[in-house]
Symmetry: C2
Subunit: 202 residues, 2 copies
């Protein structure tokens, strides 16, 4: 292809990103050519700074540019509940609900024999240490509702059993706005199993 | 949102790119966190270098990191034909056909009264100068087959009339692999108008 070397390298960098194919990568690279110098430099700096300054919170594993993250250091949050999630972006998804006011623990993955990921590659020892040391009363397992997420939740439930904490799992059921007719059997079964007395619902 | 400042800035930079919404921008930023240090630095460098080193070819306006582009400086190409396109990426699209062996001229836009773009903001004087000075025999107008592209082609045809060159327009018709039933009337009409004797077809 008749593309100057610097442009070819940028196209290659873009196409390494997930969900960005060669055509999109080219479109983005040409867009960069027309961007303001200042914005391009900000973009380049942001890339380098993220890699240099953003690290896992030493307490919960969420992303932070400090020693401990903004959630762990927020005294107004309920220090007795930990919600265990797979990835930092799951923390952000939870935070968007504006309902949960406890702490988090980010595993940075799930147990996956297929991908060769065992419990020792996840931030599980750190979780057990927190539960042992701190004044934690409940651990909510909020890994994804798929095979690996379930397996990881079940492993964690077993590991947390010796501690005097309530261990709970986020509910399975029909998504809000969903349609009974189109729900798969497994979801529908779980929705039935998880039914709650009318008065218990909010 | 509970995102550290450097990550927020990267998300913002990604979401400035065309076709990348806030959710994709976040996904990409988190991906960068997991990328190899080296790859992130290459990405940042590629951004800066593209902006610094890539400029329009002084002859045809295609992208290059030299004085003149790789096509203009290729002695093996037919120096008597110029294919006029809107953008550098149109040159790449043409080159992918591996059929055209002449030169190009990139207008860097089209005449668009709505966006306030007149002929004087495009690389039209440069084209006229090339046609006047050089040994050009044919100018192929390959702007897009839409209102602005047609208007620009028709303007160029008028401007090129005084010169002793053949001026041609790329053909309109049914896309290869297309379906007559689904073709719009305008395309079908042009396909009929542009019909060629069986023997003329390749």
């Amino acid at each position: 292809m008749h593309v100057p070397e610097p442009l070819a390298r940028l196209i290659q960098s873009f196409s390494r990103l997930p969900g960005i194919g060669p055509k999109t990568a080219m479109r983005l690279a040409f867009f960069v050519l027309r961007m303001k110098q200042e914005d391009v430099h900000d973009f380049a700096k942001a890339l380098v700074h993220v890699k240099r300054d953003v690290r896992p919170c030493t307490q919960c594993g969420h992303v932070t540019d400090k020693e401990r993250c903004i959630i762990c250091t927020d005294g107004k949050r309920d220090q007795s509940v930990i919600c265990v999630v797979q990835e930092p972006k799951d923390v952000l998804a939870m935070e968007r609900t504006r309902e949960y006011n406890g702490l988090y623990h980010v595993l940075h993955g799930v147990i996956s024999p297929i991908e060769g990921i065992g419990p020792d590659q996840l931030h599980i020892p750190q979780l057990l240490r927190r539960v042992a040391e701190d004044t934690i009363q409940e651990v909510i397992l909020a890994t994804n509702p798929n095979v690996e997420g379930e397996a990881t939740a079940s492993y964690l439930a077993r590991m947390l059993h010796p501690f005097s904490v309530t261990v709970s799992r986020i509910a399975h059921g029909l998504p809000v706005g969903g349609d009974l007719e189109y729900a798969d059997e497994a979801t529908l079964m779980r929705a039935m199993e998880g039914r709650r007395a009318w008065g218990e619902r909010r």
